[in-house]
């Protein structure tokens, strides 16, 4: 399992999604949190197989997105981020 972290929506999230495989986890951080919330973002994930999708809860909260997080996502803490990294085979950081 690869842990992909993505910190921006364009262009790196598209590239990450093109290269990720079904066993992988995608964690959205920083500005990429916008892609984990709101009805406009939902469209992007509809066609996307149900990979393990996570978003950093701090990055949602600071941007006022906590209430509109998409159902496909799990909000994670920094401790969860560390645990995800520890259990992955490797980590790829997209930016």
């Amino acid at each position: 399992m690869i842990l992909h972290t993505v910190n921006k929506v364009a262009p790196c999230l598209d590239r990450c999604m093109a290269l990720a495989s079904p066993e992988d986890t995608i964690l959205l951080i920083e500005e990429a949190a916008y892609a984990a919330a709101g009805s406009d973002s939902a469209r992007r994930w509809q066609e996307f197989p149900a990979y393990n999708l996570c978003v950093l809860e701090d990055d949602l909260a600071v941007r006022g997105l906590s209430a509109t997080m998409l159902p496909e996502f799990r909000a994670v803490s920094w401790q969860d981020f560390v645990a995800l990294a520890a259990s992955a085979d490797k980590i790829i950081n997209w930016g």
Binding site: I2, P11, C12, R15, A18, S21, I92, W94
Partner: protein, 121 residues
């Protein structure tokens, strides 16, 4: 270094913008010098680093294009350009250095899965 790991570098930034393009090349060359198995892929805006005819001015930034043939010389294992990106950015593939070969999505996916480390610049 006692360990040899494989490092895949995805160079996705345009040249002469941020320092990312140069940083990717520096890391590739250093890792190869330390006998790591290094593969590099120019992808997305990174293919612009392969634009032929980069005319470097004396009073201007250091050439990025000129560093690329050095990769093979300093034993970077394989250097690729992402074919779809080259099309999108209209890069003349016939004018690329001989040491750089095209790679498609499927082959790139495999490289990403297999590498011990992947760094994106």
């Amino acid at each position: 270094m006692s360990d040899t790991r494989s490092l895949l570098i995805l160079s996705s930034s345009a040249p002469y913008a941020s320092q990312s393009a140069r940083a990717a090349l520096d890391v590739a060359l250093t890792a190869a010098a330390f006998e790591q198995v290094v593969r590099m892929v120019f992808i997305d805006a990174g293919v612009l680093q392969l634009q032929p005819g980069q005319d470097n001015r004396k009073d201007g930034p250091k050439s990025v294009g000129k560093m690329i043939p050095a990769l093979a010389l300093y034993e970077v294992q394989e250097v690729f350009f992402h074919e779809d990106s080259a099309r999108r950015f209209s890069i003349d593939v016939s004018a690329m250095p001989d040491s750089v070969t095209g790679i498609n999505d499927a082959a790139l996916s495999e490289l990403v899965q297999k590498a011990d480390q992947v760094m994106v610049f």
